[in-house]
């Protein structure tokens, strides 16, 4: 969720720069569209990992995932 906030902040920056520096070439908005798409793909994979972790560790407390520690 925090990373979605960061993606949104970056997108606002892109669009704002696109409006004030190059208003006719909408480069910032197109890049923001790509960032939204990649964020969606990454959220999907991340949440799939969370589901698998829940299935294997019976809970999603990150401190319990330590079976590779020695």
């Amino acid at each position: 969720m925090s990373i979605e906030l960061m993606f949104n902040a970056v997108n606002i920056n892109f669009v704002a720069f696109s409006k004030f520096v190059t208003p006719t070439a909408l480069v910032g908005q197109i890049f923001a569209i790509f960032v939204i798409t990649i964020a969606a793909a990454e959220a999907t994979v991340g949440l799939a990992i969370v589901l698998l972790t829940y299935r294997n560790f019976k809970g999603i407390n990150v401190d319990n995932i330590n079976i590779m520690k020695w």
């Binding site: 949104n8 606002i12 704002a16 798409t37 959220a43 994979v45």
Partner: protein
């Protein structure tokens, strides 16, 4: 409010509020297509995905969950320093503001640009989406 609630479902709802606010900012920056895309994709798809994952995995409220660790004070100091540096840099830069007026038909322009100048990232992003779809299905498969 997203990162400080104890109930994780409330965090997700505040995230939805954030997404709607960002869409409003896009409308103010004369990017209407991006505002519509933001609401559709972020609120419509990603929030639903997160709420599915929350409902399927977490115990929603637990009194033992700490939402902050013991390093709040050094974090605040570093963030404050970063804020001062950023404001100083922003106020001293000579931005090259363009005096042209912005486009009125953003949807048509974005469509044209996506199909002519930016067609390669467009195709690559579609491949990335396909791979993310296949990867998520394989990761979360029950066998």
């Amino acid at each position: 409010m997203v990162v400080s609630m104890k109930n994780i479902f409330h965090s997700a709802l505040f995230l939805v509020l954030c997404f709607f606010s960002v869409a409003g900012i896009y409308v103010l920056l004369s990017a209407e297509f991006l505002a519509a895309v933001q609401v559709l994709i972020y609120v419509g798809a990603i929030t639903i995905l997160m709420i599915f994952a929350i409902m399927l995995t977490a115990r929603l409220y637990s009194a033992q969950i700490k939402q902050s660790n013991e390093q709040v004070i050094p974090g605040l100091i570093i963030v404050g320093a970063l804020l001062v540096i950023t404001i100083f840099t922003l106020s001293k830069t000579a931005w090259k503001l363009s005096s042209e007026s912005s486009q009125t038909q953003t949807v048509a322009s974005i469509g044209k640009l996506l199909m002519t100048t930016y067609v390669l990232p467009f195709e690559i992003v579609s491949v990335v989406l396909l791979s993310a779809l296949i990867g998520a299905i394989i990761i979360a498969r029950r066998d």
